[in-house]
């Protein structure tokens, strides 16, 4: 039993939709059977083998995908187990609705990475687009479990409508970070954009760099020592990013959004 490596053929045009390629589904299949799996290229159904060279090899239950020169959407979407490594950039919905396993992208990820995921790990070594760990379009609920770890920065609305789980962004998070959060933790090491925690009901926003002023709807609740922070560091484990880079204990706490009851918090370690 081995894993698979997918190398795009020259001339793959249009976005490729890779919903069907979860390692769990590939288990026990030979390379020929994998080549017959139907994926969508430029909106049309195409056997995988027509668009990619499929090679066996590498670790069991691991799919290595090279994405240079084209956009691949839906990588690992809905996956329950196994491991996908993307060598290059990923398109939209990387690891969206993930239930287990790990998706790692060595480059950047598009919008809705880890959106509505319920478990597992999404690791992005470059930047992430908008709606990181947020809700899928038209859905009421963002991520409900698992870990998203981004070495670069994140676009707007990271963790929007999030319900449980952890998002770590080493760089900056865009505007409306943690908007309408119900629970869970978003930890942004760099700055965050305007309207952080807008409409937040519960949950924690951990900001490595203090905002110029408390976001609208938030009030200062003073500096305190938080056992929670060291527990969080221990709980997250790897890949912990900036969260694991220094000991955290004391932090300033802003509570809000007061319009939603003020049970959410922004913690700014000191």
């Amino acid at each position: 039993m081995t894993g698979f490596t997918l190398q795009p053929r020259a001339g793959v045009a249009g976005p490729v939709e890779l919903l069907a390629l979860a390692p769990g589904r590939l288990r026990g299949l030979g390379a020929d059977a994998v080549r017959r799996i139907v994926v969508t290229v430029g909106g049309l159904p195409v056997p995988l083998g027509d668009a990619f060279d499929v090679a066996e090899g590498g670790d069991e239950d691991t799919l290595v995908l090279r994405t240079e020169g084209f956009r691949a959407d839906g990588i690992g979407q809905g996956m329950a187990e196994g491991r996908i490594v993307v060598q290059g950039d990923a398109g939209d919905r990387l690891g969206a609705r993930l239930r287990g396993g790990q998706v790692t992208v060595e480059g950047r990820a598009g919008s809705h990475a880890g959106a509505a995921m319920a478990g597992g790990i999404v690791e992005i070594l470059g930047d992430a687009g908008d709606f990181l760990g947020a809700a899928m379009p038209a859905e009421p609920r963002g991520m409900t479990g698992g870990l998203i770890s981004v070495r670069g920065s994140a676009g707007a609305r990271a963790g929007e409508r999030m319900r449980r789980g952890t998002i770590i962004v080493d760089g900056a998070a865009g505007e409306f970070c943690g908007a309408f959060m119900v629970a869970g933790t978003v930890a942004a090491g760099g700055a965050c954009g305007a309207h952080a925690g807008y409409g937040m009901r519960r949950g924690t926003l951990l900001l490595g760099r203090a905002p110029a002023a408390a976001p609208e709807g938030f009030v200062d609740a003073g500096s305190h020592d938080w056992v929670f922070l060291s527990l969080l560091q221990r709980h997250v484990g790897e890949p912990s990013g900036w969260l694991g880079s220094r000991p955290l204990a004391r932090a300033r706490r802003l509570i809000g959004d007061m319009a939603e009851g003020g049970r959410g918090e922004i913690l700014i370690p000191e």
Binding site: T40, G43, L44, P45, M136, P137, A138, E139, P140
Partner: protein, 552 residues
């Protein structure tokens, strides 16, 4: 191009044919008499005793317009989950309960439907609705204009204008919006909602104009009658979904005072208040009223268990049901101060007492209304369920054993509260052919549709006579639209363009000045820009015009 269908068992109720073994001849998209000997036949289909019917016509299905687009956006997760890739002839799209235009046309054609009518076109959205209908492939369409909460009408009525003025206004609006019929939705209620009324009974004066829904309904029914529109006033009455609304519905029938009326999705208007839960079936009383009122027709608006979305111009009712939304999201909006719109996703569950009883009430109505010429097969797509559930519905009507088996699965108290189990009636194929073909065509004044006599459009559907009626109606062997084979074995094979049907009654166009002044003062665009010209219909093809009654 001459086509012959040989050895078919023809169900053509408009021409008095039931299970008649006959040949059907088609020349260039029209049904013709048998040609003389020696005439060349280009294409021949030996049907070997298969069943032949005209193309089916859906008299009430929300397929286009502002609220459907809103529903598509609100239900966008459905579109992500149900992408239908382009395949062969089909360009397709996505969606089940809010299908995209191409999916709408293909799914209808694949079920043997060759026409479907959008029953709630708002004046200010009519242009959009027509553009969208033009994008629906294969099937014919048309729209019913919603009136009854529009300020100019209410203003004219409140000022006591003469019935002729009302008639001319209705005629002007119908013509300007390229409509096929007039519909009224909770007459006066949508307007009253804007003045904070959350309920308006048939004889309750509205807060702004002091008009009762009864007065508005009667005035519109009379205007429609005086204009000679083939289809009577299409009524979505007051108090939709409210237990006890059976009394309102019976009063509404009385309000017509002998004028023809079509009550739509009457299932939602047939609720009584008996029993511990204060919710029971009023189907028997409604059916009895329909049976003794020959000027009345209804469509049922049957509910189907499962996820759907309700979309209606009835802001008042939709705001009321918004807390029941599943998934929990909804949208309601005013439309240009002249109408309303509410979209509420909903899941009908067979284990819910209320939903199960709604299901039974719909079937009771189908089975207790005796005249299939006056009851039409609808789910009020998508409000009761998607139109793709019609084959299942036909099986429920035609197969009592199947019906009883389904009845045994629903909420036990609901099955105890319905007489459905004791109704022995099973619809015949001839009755299905009437209610889905001949009767809608007659009611809408479509003279060359819904039948297979000489001169009719060659909308021909060939079915295998399967004992499982659902399977039979789900996948017709062949479907021809205007003489072109569009679907085979439930798959689209050719994508053709349909037509849009409109009615052009005569009226005194002096009313145009009144309308123009109203547009100038209140609406902010010119009336001549509001009016839709023929060359805007179907990408320049123009509409298929029908005359008023007696105009030929």
């Amino acid at each position: 191009m001459r086509i012959r269908f040989r050895n078919g068992r023809v169900y053509d109720p408009a021409n008095g044919r039931e299970d008649a073994t006959a040949d059907i001849h088609v020349l260039d998209g029209r049904v013709v008499e048998a040609p003389g000997p020696g005439e060349r036949i280009d294409e021949e289909h030996d049907l070997g005793g298969r069943i032949v019917m005209p193309g089916a016509i859906d008299i009430h299905s929300h397929i286009a317009g502002g609220k459907m687009n809103l529903a598509r956006m609100l239900m966008s997760e459905e579109h992500h989950a149900t992408i239908v890739p382009a395949e062969g002839a089909c360009l397709c799209g996505s969606g089940i309960v809010t299908p995209s235009t191409h999916v709408t046309g293909c799914r209808y054609a694949e079920m043997g439907y060759t026409a479907a009518f959008e029953p709630a076109m708002l004046g200010s959205n009519a242009r959009h609705a027509h553009l969208e209908m033009a994008d629906i492939p294969i099937i014919d369409t048309g729209g019913y204009l919603v009136l009854g909460s529009d300020d100019l009408l209410l203003d004219l009525l409140a000022r006591g204008e003469r019935p002729e003025t009302i008639r001319d206004y209705v005629g002007w609006m119908l013509t300007a919006t390229q409509s096929m019929a007039i519909k009224t939705v909770n007459p006066g209620g949508i307007n009253a909602f804007k003045y904070n009324a959350r309920r308006l009974d048939l004889d309750e004066a509205g807060p702004r104009y002091g008009l009762t829904p009864r007065a508005i309904l009667t005035a519109l029914a009379r205007a429609v009658h005086d204009l000679g529109l083939p289809h009577p006033l299409h009524v979505h009455g007051c108090n939709l979904g409210v237990p006890g609304n059976v009394a309102t519905t019976l009063d509404t029938i009385g309000a017509a005072a002998g004028l023809p009326l079509h009550l739509t999705h009457v299932q939602f208007h047939s609720y009584d208040t008996e029993g511990d839960r204060r919710f029971s079936s009023g189907a028997a009383r409604i059916a009895e009223a329909v049976n003794r009122t020959p000027t009345l027709s209804v469509d049922v608006g049957q509910i189907v268990f499962g996820q759907t979305v309700t979309a209606s111009a009835d802001t008042m009712t939709q705001r009321g049901t918004a807390p029941l939304a599943h998934p929990r999201k909804w949208a309601a909006m005013d439309i240009e101060c002249d109408a309303g719109c509410g979209v509420v996703p909903f899941r009908y569950r067979d284990k819910s007492f209320v939903n199960a009883l709604q299901w039974a009430i719909g079937l009771e109505l189908f089975l207790l209304i005796e005249d299939p010429w006056r009851v039409f097969l609808t789910t009020d797509h998508p409000n009761g369920g998607p139109f793709t559930s019609y084959p299942e519905l036909i099986r429920l009507l035609m197969d009592r054993d199947y019906r009883l088996a389904r009845l045994a699965e629903i909420h036990p108290e609901a099955s105890a509260h319905t007489t459905l189990g004791s109704i022995a009636r099973e619809y015949t194929l001839a009755e299905i052919a009437i209610m889905t073909r001949a009767a809608p065509a007659r009611s809408l004044g479509l003279r060359d549709r819904g039948h297979l006599g000489p001169g009719a459009a060659a909308d021909v559907v060939v079915y295998d006579d399967l004992p499982d009626r659902r399977a039979m109606f789900e996948r017709p062997r062949m479907v021809f639209k205007d003489g072109v084979l569009v679907a085979r074995d439930g798959r689209t094979v050719t994508v053709t363009k349909g037509s849009t049907h409109v009615v052009r009654p005569g009226f005194d166009d002096a009313i145009g000045r009144v309308v123009a002044r109203h547009f100038e003062e209140r609406i902010g665009i010119k009336a001549k820009h509001f009016a839709i010209s023929d060359d805007e219909i179907r990408g320049g093809d123009g509409p298929v015009r029908h005359g008023a009654r007696g105009q030929g």
